[in-house]
Every structure is written in C-alpha cells, then in structure tokens.
C-alpha cells in the first residue's frame, strides 16, 4: 500500500505542477496589469490560450524537418520531468532521488538545446538570432546556476533537493553565502525565463527578442506545448527558490494527508508572493540591451563563485 500511495503522491505532484503552471503565468500578467493601472486579462486566460492553440491546425514551414515537429514534445518532457523533481508541497517523494540539482540543471539544458535547434531548423534569420543569443545567455547562466548549486550543496552537504530542503528547515540560519546564491539564482531565473530585464515576454517583432524569436515559426499544438513548457520552467524556478530558501511548510517524507494539504496551501501562498515580487521587479526596471545581459549574468556568476569560495575558506560563512 505504501508504495502505491507514494507513487500516487509523486503522480499528484506531476499533475499539480502541470495544472498550476498556466495559472502562474496568468497571475504574473494580472499583477503586472494591475500595477500598470490596467484591468488585465482574466486569471484563467493562459488555460484558454493553450486550449485554443491545441485545437488549431498546425502550419509549419515547407522545409521544416522532423526535428521541428519532435522538439516541442522533447522540450516539454524535459522541463516537466525537471519541474516534477523540485519539491513543491512535499519532500522525499518516491522518485525524488532520480536526479539531483545538477541533473535538473542539465535537464533544463537539454530542453534549451532542442529549443535552440528548433529555432534554426526552418532557416530564417529570426530563428538564428534567437538561438544564438539564447546560447550566449546560457553560456553564462548555466555556470552561474552550477555555482549556486555549489553554494547550496556545500551548506547543506547534498545536491539532493529533498535533503537540501530538510537541512534548511532544521538548520535555518542567515548566511552570507546563501544570500549571494539567492541573488545569483534570481538573476539566472530572470534570464532563463526570458523576463525583463533580459528579454520581454510580452513583445513580438522586436530585434531584441530572444525566446519569442526561436519559437516564431511555431503554431497550433506545437506552440501550445512550448508555451506550457515555458510556464513550467517559470514555475520550476519559483518552486526552486521557495524550496531552498523558504522551505517552511513543506511536508516531510512519508507524511499523512494533513501535512500534504498544509504543504500545498503554503506552497500556493509562496508562489503568489514570489510572483508578486517578480512582477514588482519587472515593472520597476527597464529592459537591457542584449550585450549588457552578459554583464548581468557575469555578476550572477561572480556572486555564486564568491559564495563558493567563501564556503571553501570556512564552512561557517
């Protein structure tokens, strides 16, 4: 019975993140609109968009290859698996040991690899520009992420997220290195999710676009799957920050029904606050020029590096 229950909880987590991801997107849009004194689209609009796109016919370029058609599903699957491995409402789930934080980073890299290839498949200038810039950002964001992982792993003695969350719960303390890691992670999250100041998720037809340029040729169900993957990725980063830096409320392993409910409710509260902070930050800052972004990401890398160095010098930082 225990096994079935554990698998059920793991399955619930997978469905949970998938169901929640568009809501997060709707929430950011709503918050943003309110801050700009607009009414904004309904909270459920992203679900409607995805449903609409899924039902539409797909129009693809004449010379698009099989890779173009397969890539959305690979991107989606890699992101979904990664998102399902980050503890949201409970730790120590059945398959949580499948991959540690380094592997989750690498899974996101797999998704990005295919997204960048898909951008180049049709052979247009826009797709290439998006892929090229995405890979430039990744070449700094990924090491920054790994450095952040180093800091967390050196503090908690593990790269396994469930262990990290439990350690943070039981040994909560203010540390300089963790502060640096948090800033680094936030910068990486902004870059990876194509948010302002790195990219603007609301724009099209602009020479500075990155993510939207890569998916320009997509339509219908392919586009829906990619948008869902993008929403999942945003949710993943918010959950990651919540799980490592504010782990309170997470249900411990093998816990009963009540802690799970508590975990889910606190998780919802956490992502609401997180989304609000994200939107607040986005509305108070301007978008950067593309070649300023490496400086921002370089700062994240340096912060992560400095945090790691401090921990190498002494475990008490």
């Amino acid at each position: 019975m225990g096994l079935i229950r554990e698998i059920a909880v793991q399955g619930a987590q997978m469905i949970f993140v998938l169901a929640l991801a568009p809501l997060l997107l709707g929430l950011t849009r709503k918050f943003k609109a309110r801050m700009l004194d607009r009414v904004g689209p309904p909270l459920l609009q992203p679900y409607r968009d995805i449903l609409k796109l899924v039902r539409k016919e797909v129009v693809i370029a004449e010379n698009a290859s099989w890779l173009f058609r397969v890539a959305p599903y690979v991107i989606f699957a890699a992101t979904w698996v990664a998102a399902a491995l980050v503890p949201t409402f409970a730790t120590g789930l059945r398959f949580s040991w499948t991959a540690d934080l380094i592997a989750i980073t690498a899974l996101l890299a797999t998704a990005r690899f295919f997204l960048a290839l898909a951008g180049m498949d049709v052979g247009t200038a826009f797709g290439g520009i998006g892929s090229s810039r995405e890979m430039l950002f990744a070449s700094l964001a990924e090491p920054a992420m790994i450095m952040m992982v180093f800091v967390v792993a050196l503090v908690a003695g593990s790269t396994q997220l469930s262990w990290v969350a439990n350690f943070m719960l039981t040994h909560a303390s203010l540390r300089v290195s963790l502060g640096m890691a948090l800033v680094a992670l936030v910068i990486v999250a902004l870059a990876e999710n194509a948010r302002i100041p790195v990219d603007n998720p609301a724009t099209h037809l602009e020479l500075t676009m990155v993510h939207e340029a890569m998916v320009l040729e997509y339509s219908g169900r392919h586009l829906a799957v990619i948008e869902l993957a993008a929403a999942l990725k945003l949710l993943l980063y918010v959950s990651l920050i919540a799980c490592v830096f504010v782990p309170w409320g997470l249900a411990p392993p093998h816990s009963g029904f009540l802690p799970l409910i508590v975990g889910a409710v606190t998780y919802l509260a956490k992502i609401t606050v997180g989304t609000f902070l994200l939107v607040f930050f986005e509305t108070s800052i301007a978008k950067m020029r593309v070649f300023r972004v490496p400086e921002l990401l370089g700062a994240a890398l340096m912060l992560g590096f400095l945090g790691t160095l401090l921990l190498f010098v002494s475990r008490s930082f």
């Binding site: 693809i60 991959a99 052979g123 810039r133 430039l136 037809l205």
Partner: protein, 671 residues
C-alpha cells in the same frame, strides 16, 4: 593469458600492415580485407581486455620477449589500468574499422592509408601493453610515426603538409620529454622494467621534475594548452576514420601514459601536482571550447572540442592527485573514476562525431559548415546519429557525457576538506571553468549541428547530398548505442572501473548495480543520486503521453506553408543565420580576452570605387606568445651556428680535439 592473446593480435596487425603492399598489387579487394581484419582483431582485443578488466581472466603473468635492450628484453603485461585503456582502444578501433569498410572505399590513394592503419592500431596497443620504458618509448614513437604517415596521406594539399610538419616536431618534442622522464626514473643504474622502477626510491626533487616532463610529453600528445597547437591541424588532415582514432583514441593513449607515469611509477605526489594538473586542465577546457565555437571547419571544430574534453579529463586527474596526496581515498577514487569515465565517453562520442563529419565530407565534399545546411533532409540517418553525438558531447542527460561531468562536480564538492589553501582557492575556479566549458560546448554543438544539418542548403553540393553507405551508418549507430548505454546504466562502467581505481589511488567507489532503478550514487545516497535510466524513461514516456493525448483529443491536422519569418518574403538561403553570425555574440563577449580578437574595417577613401570590407582578426595566443618567439630564436641560433659549415679542416680537427678534452675533463670531475 590475455597478454599473449593481445600480443598475437598486435602481431597479426603488423603482418597485415606489412602484407598490404602485396595485397594492393594482387587484389582489388584490399580495402575491405584490411579493414575487415582490423575489425576482427579489434573485437578479439576487446573481448580479451574486457574479461581482463572485469577480473574474469588471470592477468598476473608477464611476457618477456628477447628484443629491445639486450639486458632488459621487452616486457609486456596487462593490469587493470592497461586493460581499461585496451578496451577504449579496441572499441574505437572496431568502430573505425567498420566505418572504414564503407568510407575507405572512396579513398583515392588507398596505398597511402591502408598499410599505416593497422600499424597505427598496433602501435597504440603496444604502448598500453609495454611494461618497460624502452618498449614503451619505441611503441610511442611507432604510434606517432604511423599516425604522422596517415596525416600526410593527402600530402598534395599544402595545408596538410604544414600540419604534418608541426605534428612531427611536436611529437618528437613529446617523446623527448618522456625519454627524459623515464631516464630520470630509471636512474644511473638503468632500471627500465616498470616492476622494478616502481619500487625505486627517488631523490626528493626528482618526482616533481618527472611530473613536469610527463605533463609536457604526454600532454603534448593529448593536446593540453599550450601544447595543443598541432592537434587542430593534424587530426582533421587525416582521413575521417583516422581522425576519429587520433582524436578519440590516441589522446587517451596519452592520458594512459600520464596516469601510468604519475600515478603508478613515480611514487608519492606532492600537493602542488594536483594544483598544476588541474589548472592546466581548466585552461585547456575553456580555451579549447572557445576555439571550437568560432571554428567553421567541421573537423577542426571537433579537434578543438577534443582539446576541451582532454582538459576535463585532466581536471579529474588533478583532483585525484590532490585527494591522493591528502590521503582522501574515497574522493580520489571518485575523481579518477570520473576522469577515466570521461575518457571512455569522449572516445565514444568523438568517434561518432568524426564519423558523422566524414559522412558529411563524403556526401558533400565540404568541411566548411557555412556551405552546408539542410542535411537533415538529405542524410536522415547521419543526422540522427550526429544529433545524439552532439547531445552526448554537450553533457546532456540522459546520455553519457553528463554522467562523467556530474561525477566531477561531485568530486569538486568534496574538496573543501583539502587542507592546502592554494587548493581551496583554486578548486572553485576549476569548478566554474568546468561548468563554463560544459555550457559553451552546448552552444558550440547547437551551432555546428544547427548550421550544418538544419535550415536550408547553402550550396548546390549540400542540396544534392546523398546518404552514406550501410557500414558507416552501422558504425555510427554502434557508437551512439554505446553512448546511450553508458548514459542510462553508468553503474556498469563505474563498477568496471573499480579495479582500476584500486590500482591507481588505492580505493574504489561504492558498488553501484545493487541500487534500485540503475541509479548511481557517487558519494552517498544523502549527497546525490542520479538515475539515467529513469530520466530516459520519464522523458520518453511523458513526451509520448502528451503527444498521444494531443493528437487523440485535440488536433492532428498539419499544413505546410512558406516560412512565416515575421512576414518577410522568403529570400535566398543566404539570408539564414550563418555560423559566423551565430558565434558573433560569444566572440564579442569572450573574444577580446581569449583571442585578442577585434574587427578590422577597411573603408576606401572617398572617390575610390573599391568595396569596403571588414575582417575579424583572432589570435591564437599560445602560438604568438610561445611558439613564434621560440621558433624565431631557434632559427636565429641556427643562422649563427651556420658559420660552422664553412670552417677549414684544421678548425674542425681543433674542434673535435677540444670536445674530446672537454668531455674527458667532465668524466674526470664526475668520477
């Protein structure tokens, strides 16, 4: 005894090499015969070495042949370390021979490739089998010369002649350094057999010097920066299956030489050894991939990526040395296992990528990716293989490259316990360099694959390419399958490496296959775990479920139309993003530091109708800082010594007499 089987296999290879000229004259089927035999021998060697590695056969014996130095003889034996590298060589050789059964048929001058190919294989195996300094060095030189002959196979192209020249100079330099290293270890009484050399007690200064010499000697063959300059010239110049062997396998023989000397023969390391090796590894990894990302020639790009991967292997070796010095046996075992695992992985995916590059070259006659494009439509099978190879080399799960790099990260996370402050400051930087090179490798292969295989063809030859033959496809498929296998059941490789780790650092990693769902645990379950199998299954099943659900319940219609491209009318394929434009942002951000790169604009003066132009200037700094001044000094010295040519007979006699007196004085003082 496995060593006897291995020596007989090598003998067969040498006989094949010697018989090839006759075969070429007598039979039209020389090419398939030679490559077929090479593949068979490689399979025999593979089986022998694998059973030796897994401890299924007794490997204790040593063979002494009455050749070489009369008072030493030629010693050959197999221990777990050599068994592992024999496996790497045999796998690469079997795949390359299979590939060449198809690819080699297009060779214009088979007489320039066929005799040297088995000789090259024999040389690599002999280096690993050798158990005394003399046979090691002779085999090393034999391997270098055979591969040099293969690099010069197409010597009518001036570029290849230059590559061959640089290679020859660097190979001689490397062998000289190894000769000095062995000379130091053998000591004045000339102990050349490894068994006795291991037990010698050295002067305090000697091991450090041996390490530096081994780094120079083995490092120049492996491609450590700044000794890498020959590698991107020579590896691409050879026929593609030989490029695959040189890049994928011969660099591993160099790694073997380094491990054998530094970990096994010379004795206890000092703490700065690890720091030096690690620093060189990190520098090599970053510079290698930065060069690769700006390269337009597909094969040269792969050669630079080899430089990067060798850097990663040396990072692991340096970590293992640092841990071993401080008697941290567990972490040392993790680091050495990760390094050797990465060496194996690199031999698999680099072989695959070079085969793919050869397929592209055979199908289009082009190595310049700017002239390719859209090959995914024309070479569907090769495209799948190359995609797998690109994923593996970019360290993406669930393939094998990720496993070894992930293990290296875990080893780095164990190093705050190292007591030396220099190491404490250095290891985080090495970790950042490793992460940076992994991320850049992803960018590099998105660029290479995206430009060459995706998009629209940029030249008529690319538009008319035809898929390669069955042998080539099979060889690529074999290597891709091995990449996937090592990625989803890495526990098997880690366990196979345990006897090697015990031999080299005196400890091994915890046994892996007992764990559920084939997951691996580099240190302990609470620290980290990774199950390539489950990741693979999850990705496959969730993408399949989503695709099925959408096609079943929503929409499955599909319409082809002209590309949208923001409403721009479809222009010529020349408007696509090119390889240079793809690399431009990365060049602009990192180039000024790494290559002192800048753009030269040429604006004709007003009234001059000649076109304006712009050129990217990029410098290989190791070439300019190290080699160019060195070469200049050597040629100046040569000019000065030139006067010695034109002396009279009296002066020559005086010189000879003076030299004799001088030497006698030295001997007198020495005694």
């Amino acid at each position: 005894m496995p060593v006897v089987v291995a020596l007989w296999s090598v003998a067969v290879l040498i006989v094949v090499a010697l018989a090839t000229p006759i075969l070429l004259r007598r039979s039209a089927a020389a090419t398939p015969i030679v490559y077929g035999l090479a593949a068979l021998v490689a399979l025999v060697l593979f089986a022998t070495a694998l059973s030796a590695l897994l401890g299924r056969t007794d490997i204790s014996g040593e063979v002494v042949l009455p050749i070489g130095l009369p008072w030493v003889g030629a010693h050959f034996r197999i221990d777990p370390l050599s068994a592992f590298f024999l496996v790497v060589i045999a796998l690469g050789a079997a795949a390359a021979s299979l590939y060449a059964l198809g690819y080699g048929a297009h060779e214009e001058h088979p007489e320039r490739v066929l005799p040297f190919y088995p000789a090259f294989l024999a040389g690599m195996n002999l280096v690993i089998l050798a158990a005394d300094a003399f046979s090691f060095l002779v085999s090393w030189e034999f391997m270098s010369l055979a591969s040099w002959a293969l690099v010069m196979a197409h010597h009518h192209e001036p570029e290849n002649r230059r590559a061959g020249y640089v290679y020859l100079v660097m190979a001689s330099f490397g062998t000289l350094m190894l000769l000095l290293a062995f000379g130091l270890m053998a000591g004045p009484d000339g102990v050349y057999a490894f068994g006795e050399m291991r037990n010698r007690v050295h002067a305090e200064w000697l091991p450090g010097l041996v390490l530096v010499l081994a780094l120079l000697g083995a490092g120049s063959k492996a491609g450590l920066v700044p000794l890498h300059v020959w590698l991107p010239l020579a590896h691409p110049a050879a026929p593609s299956h030989v490029s695959a062997l040189m890049s994928g396998v011969m660099t591993k023989v160099a790694v073997y030489g380094f491990v054998r000397i530094v970990f096994d023969l010379v004795g206890d390391p000092a703490w700065w050894w690890g720091a030096l090796v690690m620093a060189l590894g990190a520098l090599t990894a970053v510079l290698g991939v930065l060069h690769a990302i700006l390269e337009r020639d597909l094969k040269r790009l792969l050669a630079y990526s080899t430089v990067e991967n060798i850097g990663i292997v040396f990072i692991g070796l340096g970590l293992a040395l640092a841990f071993r010095t401080n008697e941290m046996a567990g972490p040392a075992a993790l680091a050495i296992t990760a390094a050797l695992f990465h060496a194996l992985n690199h031999s698999l995916f680099k072989g695959l990528m070079f085969f793919g590059a050869g397929a592209v070259l055979g199908a289009t006659g082009e190595r310049d990716i700017e002239k390719l494009g859209g090959l995914i439509h024309r070479l569907p099978v090769t495209a799948v293989m190359m995609l797998g190879g690109a994923m593996a080399i970019s360290a993406l799960p669930p393939l094998n490259g990720f496993v070894s790099e992930g293990m290296l990260f875990q080893a780095i996370l164990l190093s705050p316990d190292l007591p030396q402050w220099a190491l404490k400051f250095m290891v985080p930087a090495v970790g950042a360099a490793l992460a940076f090179s992994a991320a850049l490798a992803g960018a590099c292969f998105v660029r290479a694959y995206g430009v060459a295989f995706l998009g629209r063809p940029r030249s008529p030859t690319a538009a008319k390419a035809v898929e390669v033959d069955g042998f080539s496809r099979f060889a690529m498929g074999l290597l891709l399958a091995l990449c996937l296998l090592a990625g989803i059941v890495p526990g098997l490789v880690i366990d196979a490496l345990s006897s090697v780790a015990v031999l080299v650092v005196g400890h091994d990693m915890p046994p892996q296959p007992l764990l559920p769902s084939l997951s691996i645990v580099p240190v302990s379950e609470s620290r980290s775990s990774y199950s390539g199998m489950l990741v693979f299954v999850f990705i496959l099943s969730s993408s399949a479920i989503v695709a099925w659900a959408i096609h079943r319940f929503a929409s499955r219609t599909l319409r082809r139309a002209p590309a949208w491209d923001c409403g721009f009318p479809d222009a010529s394929p020349m408007t696509q993003y090119t390889a240079d434009s793809f690399a431009m942002p990365i060049r602009r951000v990192f180039g000024p530091v790494a290559f002192r790169s800048h753009i030269e604009r040429r604006m004709p003066p007003p009234g001059d109708p000649s076109p304006a132009g712009l050129k990217v200037v990029k410098h290989d700094l190791s070439w300019e800082i190290l080699y160019a001044p060195l070469a200049g000094r050597i040629s100046r010295l040569g000019e000065r010594l030139n006067t010695l040519q034109f002396l009279s007979i009296r002066s020559y006699l005086t010189l000879v007499f003076a030299a004799l007196v001088g030497l006698l004085v030295v001997v007198a003082i020495w005694a």
